[in-house]
């Protein structure tokens, strides 16, 4: 195409001609599945797919086409980014409008042979709907695409970016023609103002206003500059536009030139984008060839030409004044503003400087009109925004949505939710200048103002999704390190300020954080914000300020508890599993000892930090496994299984190392509550030589472990054995003693008690608060389970309904199923993946015949003659997000229905009623009603009273309670002696063998055997069984030994 286009008429004629060549892509009415009809295969060769081997796929397609003699009928078109990078390589078959993903070289051949030649869609390459799991062939039916509005990305994935003829065919350059031939500069600027378009680079400044100022400035030589530096890590939309639709940027810049009176333009593109530069250059050359750039464009007296300037690896050159300074051939140091580029820009002359995305939006606004553009978006932020989804989300890639969509919608409905279903922790928006959004704010509208209120920014649109494997302190440190390196050095606040902030953060991540560090960071950050010269400095502190705002506890944990819960900070983490364990059990240690058959040593090591090895081997929810690094290779280590095998080898329980201490033994220490927290505290106190007394209200010790956890999960004798071991250390357990009734806290003090540890739990179950719940047959789960466990029997109906989705609900369900119930239904108002109960428990419940009725909410208990006969329920739907990061359930449209039943068990929560227990002693209480304690020592507001376990945290897990007990023991001893004597906390060297150069063994993770369902139905025998020795050793050997450290350096 080398004939010059001299007028709008020329352009329109050419468009009609060219669009016919794209016929297959334009006309979706051509029937699908016709064998041997002409087809086009559009293959994405955007950056992501290129890296996934898209070019080899194109070769394979072309080869198959040739071999089958289809060269006349089928063409392969290489297009720009279609969006879903994680699913690449991807392709579209036109005119069928069928979308294929994850294509291999073999698949390309299959597509030609099956789909092209026989009209049979290749099922295994289709996108699978996230909700139904069904394959979807037509792009217009795919949720991921349906919910997007591609304006900036309108042509990406639809045309060949290297052919100007295709751009013209889709009406490209007609906006320029319209502007140049029938609109005045003012009219163009007016249109931009009406559209409400705001700068998409991050500043969000109204584009029309910027153009107006530049237009009004007087000068003989103005410029248009496109910021294609895109330095934000995590942003790749500008790259995709330049690679996939470069003409849209050229056209936008030309229109800008026309509007403000500029004759020359520059595209400043970073050097890290060689493909983008290449394609843009080709596009510029083609545009020049046909006269769309150069002199007398389209027969007018408007002259405009473009040049590319390459960046050289400086992030700060993305800042507009630094960018212009760089074009001028200098060190990329920013200049003070005002004066703004619109007045004094490139070479001191008025300059319009806009982002790639902004320019790519211009042509649409001019041709379709500002009003149409303004239909999308919110009142203050019109139009669409391209977001680059990356990180721990399933559908990573580019998406374009109307501004104002909520973060939750973007993440779950379009982004496909979190990888591996892990809980959402935070989303970082806007790169190193931005802030993070925690799960409490999943409902935030993604628009400029709403994000600013949360301390975040829209920025470039790079959205990094993080799960619990990211440490927010480390993330802040990472961004600050980046900014520090990229700081140009010109102004002191940025150059020195960021360095000081980084030093503090590095100290914190290294385990050397100090009290007052957080306050220092906040002050420094604020100062830098107010005094730095350019945007880089001004926003440098944002990630730190934002993470402190939303994740302050993590900072405090790093500083005070020397703990990194995500298992990331090298100075605090020996191994991520150990870091994740609330009790810091040396997991790599005991696992490697089991691998060498040294079971007694393994048990000793385990009991250094947690006495309940045998109990936890059955019931712990193993947060250690959720952080296991092996998961990135295949699947996590089966830590709980290895533990179970280890405890099975124990014949006689060994007592741990204890230090005799007459002074301590003489002191009176009382512990109220013999649950895991109380027993653990007693255990550790005894190891320090104390002889504490435990007061337990129930007839036997064990707390929830004995009272509510069913014996098919935790056999009675197993627990009793470990409790007896603790007694052997000199601990006196007195049962049937209730606080507030048989003794009071004041009495303990009068008797000479120097310290008390309150570990009374949250023993009361909550009732439903529904009409009819006073009827016979309605009870709550905690009492139901407790009665069975202590008495050995409990009334069970024939048709039992359990309300709730946590472990208590499942325990009650599986218990009822083993007793007289014929049907057991668990009613839960949200979805299965939102149920707090352990997944393994839910699976076994279903195997045992328990039915789950999800998205169902109980409304009323139907009562006849004082007995429950049914429960009226409402169907629910999922609505917006609540502060737990889960979707609320809201009433659906369907009619209510009744589930007939003769017993209703409520398992919706627990509480503790403090006043009758603590009497006149006043203890500070948190907003949720539980006791306030110091995070390190577990001291309450009364110096001599400590607290831990459920009474301080709310219903939590056994291991959390055990950890609290240990901290309290150390805290009590610290208070009494003034010294830190917790000798068990010292790191122990484990001398197991490990070869760091060997490849990991490729055994797969194995599940523990379960007794068959038929053998479980009428008894409470333990369901889970241990492995045999060979399996256990194999499983132990899978451990990657993240705790391994090189012994010596040779230089």
């Amino acid at each position: 195409m080398s004939k010059k286009i001299k007028s709008l008429a020329d352009l329109e004629k050419l468009q009609l001609l060219e669009v016919k060549k794209l016929g297959l892509r334009m006309d979706h009415s051509v029937p699908e599945s016709n064998d041997n009809t002409p087809r086009e295969i559009l293959v994405c060769v955007g950056g992501g797919c290129l890296a996934s081997g898209a070019l080899k796929i194109c070769e394979a397609f072309n080869l198959a086409i040739e071999e089958n003699g289809l060269s006349q009928k089928v063409t392969v078109v290489e297009t720009g980014c279609m969006g879903p990078c994680a699913a690449g390589p991807v392709a579209k078959i036109m005119p069928d409008n069928v979308f294929y993903q994850g294509i291999t070289v073999e698949d390309a051949k299959t597509i030609v042979e099956q789909h092209i030649m026989q009209g049979l869609v290749v099922q295994h390459l289709l996108y699978k709907d996230a909700v139904s799991g069904q394959p979807v062939a037509n792009i217009d039916d795919i949720e991921y695409f349906k919910r997007q509005n591609k304006v900036v990305l309108r042509n990406c994935g639809n045309i060949d970016p290297l052919k100007i003829s295709e751009y013209i065919a889709v009406k490209g350059y007609q906006a320029l023609a319209k502007a140049v031939s029938s609109m005045s500069s003012e009219a163009v600027i007016d249109s931009m103002l009406q559209s409400g378009l705001r700068g998409r680079g991050g500043g969000g400044f109204p584009t029309g206003l910027k153009w107006k100022f530049t237009y009004e400035a007087e000068s003989d030589s103005k410029s248009v500059v496109c910021n294609a530096d895109e330095g934000d890590p995590g942003a790749f939309m500008d790259r995709s536009v330049l690679e996939g639709d470069p003409h849209s940027v050229i056209e936008g810049m030309a229109i800008a030139g026309y509007a403000v009176g500029a004759a020359r333009g520059y595209v400043y593109c970073r050097a890290e984008y060689p493909v983008a530069i290449e394609r843009l250059q080709k596009a510029i050359d083609q545009a020049r060839e046909v006269g769309l750039l150069g002199e007398n464009i389209l027969g007018s007296d408007f002259n405009f030409d473009l040049e590319i300037r390459m960046g050289s690896g400086a992030f700060v050159c993305g800042e507009e004044t630094a960018l212009m300074t760089s074009i001028e051939g200098n060190r990329g140091e920013p200049r003070p503003r005002p004066p703004f580029p619109a007045i004094k820009g490139l070479w001191g002359k008025p300059t319009v400087l806009n982002n790639v995305e902004t320019f790519a939006s211009v042509a649409v606004i001019i041709s379709e009109g500002a009003e149409k553009y303004a239909e999308l978006g919110t009142e203050k932020s019109k139009g669409t925004k391209v977001f680059a989804l990356a990180g721990a989300v399933n559908n990573t890639g580019l998406v374009e949505v109307p501004i104002g969509i909520s973060l939750g919608e973007l993440l779950y409905d379009i982004g496909g939710g979190m990888i591996d279903g892990k809980p959402f922790k935070a989303a970082q928006l806007g790169g190193p200048s931005g802030g993070c959004i925690p799960k409490e704010h999943l409902n935030v509208a993604l628009d400029y103002e709403s994000l600013n209120e949360l301390g975040a920014i829209m920025g470039s649109g790079g959205l990094i999704v993080m799960d619990e494997d990211s440490c927010m302190v480390d993330v802040a440190r990472f961004f600050l390190e980046f900014v520090q390196e990229e700081s140009c050095g010109k102004c002191t606040p940025c150059r020195v300020g960021t360095k000081r902030m980084l030093e503090i953060l590095e100290r914190i991540c290294d385990g050397k954080g100090e009290e007052g560090d957080i306050e220092k960071l906040l002050t420094l950050g604020q100062q830098i914000k107010e005094t730095a010269l350019c945007g880089l400095g001004k926003t440098a502190a944002n990630p730190v300020l934002s993470t402190i705002r939303h994740f302050r506890e993590e900072y405090e944990e790093h500083i005070r508890d020397k703990k990194c819960r995500a298992g990331v900070c090298a100075g605090l983490v020996r191994a991520p599993c150990q870091s994740a364990c609330p009790a810091s059990v040396d997991i790599p240690g005991f696992v490697s000892l089991v691998g060498e058959k040294r079971y007694a040593e393994a048990l000793m090591l385990h009991r250094e930090r947690n006495p309940f090895a045998a109990a936890c081997a059955r019931i712990c929810f193993h947060t250690c496994e959720d952080h296991c690094r092996r998961a990135t290779l295949d699947s996590p280590i089966s830590i709980r299984g290895i533990k179970r095998f280890m405890v099975e080898q124990e014949v006689v329980i060994q007592v741990p190392e204890c230090k005799e201490n007459k002074k301590n033994a003489a002191k009176k220490i009382a512990i109220v509550g013999a649950g895991p927290a109380g027993l653990s505290c007693a255990y550790f106190l005894a190891r320090l030589g104390y002889k504490p007394t435990l007061y337990e209200a129930a007839p036997r010790p064990g707390g929830m472990m004995a009272q509510t956890i069913p014996s098919y999960r935790l056999p009675r004798e197993i627990l009793a054995r470990e409790i007896r071991m603790i007694e052997r250390l000199g601990v006196d357990i007195q049962c049937n003693k209730t606080l507030g009734k048989d003794f009071t806290l004041e009495e303990l003090k009068e008797q000479g008690c120097e310290a008390v540890f309150m570990a009374i739990g949250a023993p009361d179950g909550l009732m439903l608060g529904l009409p009819g719940e006073e009827a016979e047959g309605v009870c709550e789960a905690i009492s139901f389970l407790r009665e069975y466990n202590i008495r050995g029997s409990v009334p069970v109906g024939k048709n039992v309904v359990i309300i709730g989705g946590g472990n208590a609900a499942i325990d009650a369900a599986r218990t009822a199923a083993r007793l007289d119930a014929e049907s057991v239904i668990v009613v839960y108002r949200r979805t299965r993946d939102q149920m707090p109960a352990y997944e393994e428990e839910i699976e076994e419940a279903e195997a045992e015949g328990v039915e789950l009725k999800l998205l169902t909410s109980p409304e009323e208990i139907i009562v006849e003659n004082g007995n429950v006969t049914g429960i009226r329920c409402k169907s629910m739907e999922l609505g917006t997000f609540d502060r737990s990061g889960r979707r609320r359930s809201v009433a659906g449209d369907q009619a209510d229905f009744i589930i007939p039943c003769d017993q209703v068990i409520a398992a919706i929560g627990q509480r503790v009623d403090l006043p009758p227990l603590i009497g006149q002693v006043s203890l500070a209480v948190k907003r949720d009603g539980y006791l306030k304690t110091d995070s390190v020592t577990k001291q309450t507001s009364e110096e001599w009273i400590f607290a831990g376990g459920d009474v301080a945290t709310g219903p939590s897990s056994v291991i959390d309670a055990v950890a609290d007990g240990e901290k309290a023991a150390a805290g009590i001893d610290l208070m009494l002696t003034g010294k830190d004597n917790a000798f068990w906390r010292a790191e122990k060297k484990v001398d197991t063998f490990f070869d760091p150069d060997a490849d990991p063994v490729m055994y797969e993770r194995e599940k523990q055997p379960l007794i068959p369902v038929e053998r479980r139905s009428c008894n409470f025998d333990e369901v889970e069984q241990p492995w045999d020795e060979a399996t256990a050793i194999r499983q132990a050997k899978r451990c990657l030994r993240c705790d391994y450290r090189e012994e010596a350096t040779t230089w």
Binding site: G48, S52, P233, Y273, A314, S326, G329, L389, G462, L633
Partner: protein, 176 residues
């Protein structure tokens, strides 16, 4: 580097001698002499020609563009892309942008350090590989990503590093 530079005569892979390269540099200087802000494009092209920016080249550029040497040196030291040290035949760039970092980029970098036995910014003794940390190159959808020369490798696992490096050493041997 890019085609644009290749047109001007990129030296990667070819054994053009210094004389020839200096002649080509002269041509470039002539072309950009009157171009405003032309210093940076000239430096980019020069680095493409010589593989790095030795002092004699910088002095020639300063003279050719009529700028003080200190200004040229100042610009070179500002931008991370310019190197005054010779680089290895294959430049390994490990991305530590946010998305890659969050998906394990640091472990990849450590694996490269271990395998090549060099630190960031260094070159192996046999001049085959240089190791750098890259700023994000926009393959975030497929993190963790690395670039070796112009090839982008995505979703890299530490276990794959040895293999990836081997494929570059092999191609060198084949050509020889």
């Amino acid at each position: 580097m890019t085609d644009m530079l290749a047109e001007k005569g990129c030296a990667c892979g070819s054994e053009a001698d210094e004389q020839e390269l200096m002649v080509r540099l002269d041509e470039v200087l002539e072309e950009y002499k009157d171009n405003e802000g032309g210093l940076i494009p000239v430096l980019q092209i020069a680095q493409g020609l010589f593989g790095y920016l030795p002092e004699n080249v910088l002095r020639k550029i300063a003279k050719g563009l009529d700028k003080p040497y200190s200004e040229v040196a100042g610009v070179v030291s500002f931008y991370s892309f310019f190197s005054t040290q010779p680089r290895g035949k294959n430049v390994v760039r490990v991305c530590l942008g946010t998305a890659c970092y969050v998906r394990g980029g640091k472990q990849i970098l450590d694996a490269f350090k271990k395998n090549l036995k060099i630190d960031v910014g260094e070159t192996t003794e046999d001049k085959q590989f240089s190791l750098e940390v890259a700023r994000c190159f926009g393959a975030c959808g497929l993190a963790p990503a690395i670039m070796i020369n112009d090839d982008v490798h995505q979703r890299v696992k530490p276990a794959q590093v040895k293999q990836i490096l081997a494929s570059y050493s092999e191609t060198e041997l084949e050509e020889a």
